[in-house]
Amino acid sequence: MSDHRRMPEDRRFDGQRRRILKLGLAASVAGLTGRLYAAPVGGPRLLVVFLRGGYDSTNLLVPYSSDFYYEARPNIAIAKPDPASNTGALALDADWALAPAVRETIGALYAKRQAAFIPFAGTDDLSRSHFETQDSIEMGQASGGAHNFRSGFLGRLSEALVGAGADASPIAFTDALPLAFEGTTTIPNLSLKNVGKPAFDERQARILSDMYAGHRLENAVSSGLELRHEVAKEIADEMTAADRHAITTKGFELEAQRMGILMRDKYRIGFIDVGGWDTHVGEGAAQGALAGNLTSLGKGLQAFSQSLGTDWSNTVVVVLSEFGRTFRENGSRGTDHGHGTVYWVLGGSINGGAILGAQQRVDRGSLFQDRDFPVLNDYRAVLGGLFRSMWSLRPAQSAHVFPQSNPSDIKLI
């Protein structure tokens, strides 16, 4: 078979390959670490967490060896890690430290080699607009030239996997379907903030679905009604079982725990977005607005990993945001829209405990336009490389997900 075929032909993927499709590099990873993915049954899982608003990555992954960092942020810098303290910033290596807010959660995963960070990550979009940059990331198409505004990279990833006979089972844990998931198929969405009893019994659901037969919303109507039933049952079963463990989580932690349950049992590709990162004013340092958001995020992702149980070992979480923020603090003890940011990758079997991708020294001279972190790791190349490794994507499939992009292998898996 040629690897140069285009997408529609991928749907004719031969049966042999379909049966052996499994998480890429399983053999080599197993060889190195003795860990094995649960392949081919089920295959890998992916959760994409989008931090909307452009989170201040410089106060998450702190470049503490840079004097310029402390000079540029007189009021909001995070203090250098103190080896004697177990509450301050956590030194990850000689240059980078992790924010105290996620020390107990993401820091613990990092220590187990289940978390990695990619600084200097982002896009070539220079609008510094939240909305344009979020859209362009979710579309995942080459900059310049015509765009298909109704096609997102996770939608295309699902198409490529389904076309290859693999299990994509996508779901968005959001009230609205994100642009990242748009494409040629109807992808279900449901926020798990509040999960109640479904409003309609089976007869009523059937009548509602029939009313939309042949309508362009037909699939969305029927899959929405089905999903409500399915999720109510799944979560109710789990909560009955969990009552014995007296789980008292709430907020994002509870939501993430439910996401973990659903992804463990039914879904392979998930998406969630978290807002509240646009810290123009009073963002705080070790404590404060940003730290509060990071704490909640860290606890949620920890809960997600735990509720997956043994399936955490074949799950990957990617945390990204539209851009980083200005390296210098602004006049209101906050930060404005910047450029390069830090992506997180978490997973039970990833090559974690490392700062990955192209990097450079952090000082005044290396700032982009004398204001922001530069982008050295293009998000399409990084994610393309990750997906290629996870699902053994062939070049034509990779090109379907991220057209005109070369997947880069930054040794995530």
């Binding site: 608003g53 909305f131 344009e132 968005a172 379907l177 969405n189 449901l190 926020s191 009313m211 006049g331």
Partner: protein, 509 residues
């Protein structure tokens, strides 16, 4: 089944009556389908009074009356009374802000402990109550005002110049923002609308311009003012323009107490109106270049010059015209229509009423009938208008909660882009099933719309009779076979109501 039969029978009798009335009176003829489809898109949905107005005035007469509404469009007396009783209808925003700031400081000075917590909580509840009242007033007007287009445009512009009640002191401000910055200008000159939002503390707090000062520049508002409010992200401005507009906006902020002590030369440039303040001591008086034009340091006059320059650009006329067409016409508005609207905008110095007239009387608007998916506000308000047809509700809380659960809460958009306006943003599988649940709440009539507002005893109960004259006149003749089939399978009037409100015909306008 019995109830359904009764409902249908009553409806048939009504149809009979209508026919008789038509033969014996001089009332204008029933509107055609085209008229109904046109009318429901120039309103938050059909009710009997709206159809009667249209019959009386005809299409052009109707649109002109809608574009030039009375100063105080008449509401049902029961609704008028409810609105008049709200605190939000009477407060002075500058005084309120000053009180809130004083209370915050007092709380700060209290010793840690239960009393302080109590005081903090009480203050927050006060703010939330006020924001809720603002949402309630807005909703009552949307449902009952005969000036329906004014209500739709108030929603549209409030969404365009979106603010979020959850930030800072916005809870105390959103009602006044809607009432004084948005509502008076919805059919006026676009520049006046921009200036009214720019001079309102809600916007200045929300987009951080109250922190924007010489030497401490905060570019948040400057960027969104061009990207979201006027030019659009591709509107031909640069990062330098953002920075320079931010400098122009330095010193534009919110009054924080007594007037600052200023030298006479500065004092002449000081401006103050309610809670809005321009403090020249915080302004950057250097020369700026904005969109290729040099703007010398002059104080607040720079802001006026900058906004004039921005709203005079063809990019602004096109951006605003396209967004209006997106809201009223189609998810992909026909470019020739947008261009004609933009020409009207440019020839009339941004006269919004003129631009809307171009839109509503266009052939493109007529041709797009029945194709626009209702966003949650349109869905919920049109459902209530249709279900209760002018009958005054007493409890607005369920409606406000429905909008929240559908993802379109009043003053609830956290980001400054406002709620999206296209089908794909509101018609995902999860949103549709949620919408059907709301349809059920309305159809079953057990949501408590006729309870007392504080949740006490119900003053009336029962489900609405959707199979009414309005239904037989304006809806039933145009239903698809599948929808009729679903309605026939209903086993109760409540279920019948639910299916009708959940039908494809009701999802689009």
């Amino acid at each position: 089944m019995t109830r359904l039969a009764i409902g249908l029978a009553a409806g048939l009798i009504l149809v009979g009556c209508t026919t008789t009335a038509k033969q014996t009176s001089t009332a204008p003829p029933l509107p055609h389908r085209d008229d109904l489809l046109w009318l429901q898109r120039v309103s938050f949905g059909l009710d009997t009074a709206t159809i009667a107005n249209y019959r009386r005035l005809g299409r052009e007469g109707y649109i002109d009356s809608q574009l030039h509404p009375d100063a105080r469009p008449p509401l049902p007396p029961a609704i008028e009374t409810q609105i008049a009783a709200l605190d939000v209808s009477h407060i002075d925003v500058a005084a309120t802000l000053a009180t809130v700031q004083a209370q915050r400081q007092a709380i700060k000075a209290m010793p840690d402990g239960a009393d302080r917590e109590q005081a903090r909580k009480a203050l927050n509840q006060q703010g939330e109550a006020l924001a809720y009242q603002a949402a309630r007033r807005d909703m009552l007007r949307a449902i009952y005002s005969p000036a329906q287009l004014q209500e739709e445009m108030t929603w549209f512009w409030l969404n365009h110049f979106s603010v979020y009640q959850g930030k800072a002191n916005l809870r105390w401000l959103v009602g006044d923002y809607e009432e004084r910055a948005i509502r008076p200008h919805v059919f006026g000159r676009f520049k006046d609308l921009v200036m009214a939002t720019l001079e309102h503390p809600a916007m200045l707090e929300y987009l951080d311009n109250k922190q924007n000062a010489v030497g401490h520049v905060n570019e948040n508002y400057a960027r969104e003012l061009m990207e979201l409010h006027t030019l659009g992200v591709d509107g031909g401005y640069s990062q330098e323009d953002v920075q320079n507009l931010a400098r122009i906006l330095t010193g534009v902020g919110v009054a924080t107490g007594a007037q600052p002590r200023l030298k006479p030369a500065m004092l002449r440039l000081y401006r103050h109106d309610g809670a809005f303040v321009f403090n020249p001591a915080r302004h950057d008086f250097g020369t700026k270049v904005l969109l290729g034009e040099t703007i010398p340091g002059a104080g607040f006059d720079e802001v006026d010059a900058a906004i004039t320059r921005i709203v005079g650009r063809p990019a602004c006329a096109r951006f605003i015209s396209r967004k209006l067409a997106l809201y009223f016409v189609a998810d992909n508005p026909p470019p020739p229509l947008v261009e004609r609207m933009a020409q009207t905008f440019m020839h009339t110095d941004g006269d919004i009423a003129a631009v809307l007239r171009t839109l509503f009387l266009s052939k493109e608007f007529a041709a797009a009938a029945g194709e626009k998916f209702k966003d949650p506000m349109r869905f919920v308000v049109s459902s209530v208008r249709f279900a209760y047809d002018g009958r005054p509700i007493s409890n607005t809380r369920p409606i406000i909660n429905w909008l929240r659960s559908l993802g379109e809460a009043s003053y609830g958009r956290q980001t400054p882009d406002g709620y999206p306006l296209t089908e794909v943003d509101w018609a995902s599988s999860g949103q549709l099933s949620r919408r059907f649940e709301i349809a059920r709440s309305i159809g079953a009539g057990n949501a408590g719309l006729f309870d007392a507002e504080d949740g006490d005893a119900a003053t009336a109960a029962g489900f609405p009779q959707l199979a009414n004259r309005l239904y037989y006149e304006a809806v039933e003749p145009f239903l698809a076979a599948r929808t009729k089939d679903a309605l026939n399978r209903a086993t109760s009037q409540q279920e019948w109501n639910t299916f009708l409100l959940a039908s494809p015909e009701f999802a689009y306008e």
